[in-house]
């Protein structure tokens, strides 16, 4: 997983272009907010048929090795896909589904995997015991929190520390002690009180695999946020070009122009950050360098996406504050994802710890 992907620069670029094209078919860029709105604030918060379609397209297995039935593609492809889904605000929990599938595939599990890859079963990994962390204590009985779109889960993957290792258990939703809370974007978080008696062990030693996959999920989330920012900004740009005030198009006011320029710069920095981090991982970066690349991108995307989505409200004025207008959908999505898989503060700290210092970094 930390080995460099094969292929020339041009071949990689073509592969990434293809994944973007296929994404557009399922989640058109900002084009289907009617679907998004129809799914909000009711269970499961997304369309299971669309998640299955994502499975059919090979997206859930995008990072799983080909030998395990996955596509064996790189972070470049995953980030491109996540960005497109973000631009389309797709509420389907692709990143959590992919996290579970990737870990199981790399751990050699083959029994559940086919149905997970196909999107037939949504099985989020219930790893998180407190907010704003990337660590997996694996306590046998601590509640697992912030499980994305848990209302649609059929199964939970449960990491449990056994001796020095993290084992993985599969726990069926049925009968599980699960509490749901609504999220700003209309989806939900689950809190699961584990009951290992009902669970089945599916992997013995997956701690390192899980840590690695969590980092990949963090980077994919950064890419998703990049898509969110871009469409949100696009909305504002359209508005600036059409809305009239004081007899002029408001986009001709220099103060708004400069603010728009600053937001555009944040988009440029975020894209450069995410894409260079993905390229570093695909080039085989390991250990501290890998973590630093991910943290850099996630820290940027978290801050920039909140900044851009809220500035977009401001650039719209009153209408931006109505629920009917789409600007709020992007704001809410950024609120849900900015701190998922680590807040900007967490990633800044981790970056400073892990990033190499000096002239040649």
């Amino acid at each position: 997983m930390s080995e460099a992907l094969a292929g020339t620069e041009a071949e990689r670029a073509e592969s990434i272009r293809m994944i973007r094209d296929s994404a557009a078919a399922v989640a058109p860029r900002g084009g289907d907010t009617k679907r998004i709105r129809a799914l909000r604030f009711q269970d499961p918060g997304y369309d299971p048929a669309v998640l299955r379609r994502m499975g059919e397209l090979g997206w859930i297995g995008l990072r799983a090795p080909e030998a395990a039935g996955g596509a064996g593609l790189g972070m470049g492809e995953l980030c491109a896909l996540a960005e497109e889904l973000g631009a389309g605000l797709a509420p389907e929990p692709l990143i959590p589904a992919l996290l579970t599938a990737t870990v199981l595939a790399r751990a050699g599990e083959r029994e559940l995997l086919p149905r997970l890859l196909a999107g037939e079963i949504y099985a989020p990994t219930a790893w998180q015991e407190r907010p704003d962390t990337l660590e997996v204590p694996g306590s046998p009985d601590a509640p697992r929190r912030f499980i994305p779109q848990a209302a649609g889960a059929e199964l939970f993957l449960l990491p449990v520390r056994e001796g020095g290792r993290i084992a993985l258990y599969a726990l069926p939703r049925a009968g599980a002690d699960l509490a749901l809370e609504r999220t700003q974007d209309g989806g939900n978080f689950g809190t699961l009180r584990p009951a290992l008696g009902e669970a089945r062990r599916v992997a013995d030693d997956a701690g390192a695999l899980l840590a690695q996959a969590l980092d990949e999920a963090a980077l994919a989330t950064a890419a998703y946020l990049l898509g969110v920012m871009e469409r949100s900004f696009g909305l504002a740009l359209d508005y600036l070009k059409t809305r009239q005030q004081f007899g002029r198009v408001i986009g001709s006011f220099q103060a708004l122009q400069h603010r728009a320029a600053d937001l555009r710069i944040q988009l440029g920095l975020t894209r450069a950050s995410v894409e260079s981090a993905a390229a570093a991982l695909d080039a085989g970066a390991e250990g501290a360098a890998r973590r630093a690349a991910v943290s850099r991108a996630k820290a940027r995307a978290a801050e920039a996406s909140l900044l851009v989505t809220r500035q977009v409200i401001q650039l719209h004025g009153g209408i931006g504050y109505t629920d009917e207008y789409d600007a709020g959908l992007y704001l809410r999505k950024a609120m849900v994802l900015a701190n998922q898989f680590g807040s900007a503060a967490l990633h800044r700290r981790r970056f400073l710890r892990d990033a190499p210092e000096g002239d040649e970094e």
Binding site: F41, P131, Q244, Q245
Partner: protein, 391 residues
């Protein structure tokens, strides 16, 4: 300041009390009479929920602090009005449906006919008339020159056609006061008049707008050949905007009141403690900056309060307060979201605890820089009318 001692008798003249005594007197009454379940409502309350407080104030004679006594108001000095408001804010009292009290009442007192005064003022005091304000339009938010809702003469009536937007709590109101265009030839803010219209007049449609708080605080109001008797015109025809503007001045200092930011900063502290970052030096430096900003905002606000106390009128520089206050409020809300971890995605408060509501505050803070004249407009005002920079 210490806790209030036992209640003395109601003083004859509240204006005669010194500021501290007045403050304690008001505080004591509010604490004893305000419905506890309505403290710090996360959203603007509808009439059905806040009328109990409206009637309490009315019964006490404290509904209209700024109105002269002869019209049933408290007749408070500007300085005392500020204290009164500060005490309401301090206790987290809900705003009532107060457009009749704050805006229409003073307008009628200043510009209305005797008949209008006799008819309308008592009905505000009794809660019989609940007013809403029809100023903004879809293409005239911060730009009144573009006002399009028009009133055309037809015998002893005006016929009103057009649309208002961002009309606060229009669905609760039974009257609306309107700015309408009565002279299409006139330029800029000329040719605008001020009309009073019962909401049950045929041709009026109210459509609530769901905002990002998922709340229907604002409405669109549509006017389709709405006939309004000419006697419902206030002041001179075509001079409506001048009157309306004259009354906005005093309101502006409230938009700069530090109380909203102070309340938010308490929330930030509570959240930081809940999240376990309160003792972290990175957080403390950020918190220190926000607290210093708040303390300096209080001092800055104090400068304007002192002006009012000296009987001076406030100039356009009061726009600076609004900018400071609203952007500080947002920075505090932003900080809350950033330290909240995954809770930053919750639709409701953390663990159902209303004091731990980062997402509610984050969303609530968004319009602060938009309403009451957007901060872009406020900066234009500072540049042009305070600094004298050219057009």
């Amino acid at each position: 300041m210490t806790a209030a001692p036992a209640a003395p008798a109601e003083p004859e003249d509240l204006n005669a009390l010194d500021d501290e005594a007045f403050r304690l007197h008001v505080r004591r009454w509010i604490e004893a009479n305000y419905p506890p379940e309505l403290r710090h409502p996360p959203k603007r309350l509808h009439w059905k929920d806040n009328k109990v407080w409206y009637f309490k104030l009315a019964e006490k004679g404290w509904l209209c602090p700024g109105w002269p006594k002869e019209y049933g108001g408290m007749g408070l000095s500007p300085a005392k009005q500020i204290i009164f408001t500060e005490e309401l804010e301090r206790w987290g009292c809900a705003r009532t449906n107060d457009h009749g009290i704050v805006l229409l009442g003073p307008l009628i007192i200043n510009y209305g006919t005797e008949e209008q005064k006799r008819y309308f003022l008592p009905k505000i005091l009794s809660g019989e008339h609940i007013w809403c304000q029809g100023y903004s339009e879809p293409n005239a938010g911060s730009d009144l020159a573009s006002l399009r809702t028009e009133a055309v003469e037809d015998g002893d009536h005006y016929v009103v056609n057009g649309q208002k937007i961002w009309t606060t709590l229009a669905q609760d109101a039974n009257w609306i006061f309107l700015l309408v265009r009565t002279d299409k030839q006139a330029k800029k803010q000329e040719g605008i008049s001020f009309l009073l219209v019962p909401m049950d007049t045929p041709g009026i449609t109210v459509k609530p707008i769901i905002n990002l708080e998922l709340h229907d605080e604002f409405c669109e109001v549509f006017f389709d050949n709405v006939r309004v008797p000419k006697r419902n015109l206030v002041g001179q025809i075509n001079k409506g905007w001048d009157m309306a503007k004259a009354l906005l001045g005093f309101e502006r200092i409230y938009l700069g009141s530090p109380r909203q930011s102070a309340y938010a900063l308490k929330g930030l502290r509570a959240l930081a403690e809940h999240m376990g970052v309160w003792e972290e030096p990175e957080f403390r430096d950020r918190y220190a900056r926000l607290r210093l900003d708040l303390e300096d905002l209080k001092a800055f606000y104090g400068v304007y309060v002192a002006k009012l106390r000296r009987g001076e009128t406030l100039g356009p520089d009061v726009s600076m307060l609004k900018i400071c206050q609203t952007e500080l409020f947002q920075r505090i809300a932003d900080a809350m979201l950033e330290i909240a971890g995954e809770n930053a995605g919750l639709l409701g408060p953390i663990e159902g605890n209303r004091d731990l509501n980062p997402t509610g505050l984050y969303i609530q803070a968004r319009p602060a820089t938009i309403y009451g004249g957007s901060n872009e407009i406020q900066r234009n005002i500072v540049a042009k009318n305070v600094l004298g920079l050219p057009g």
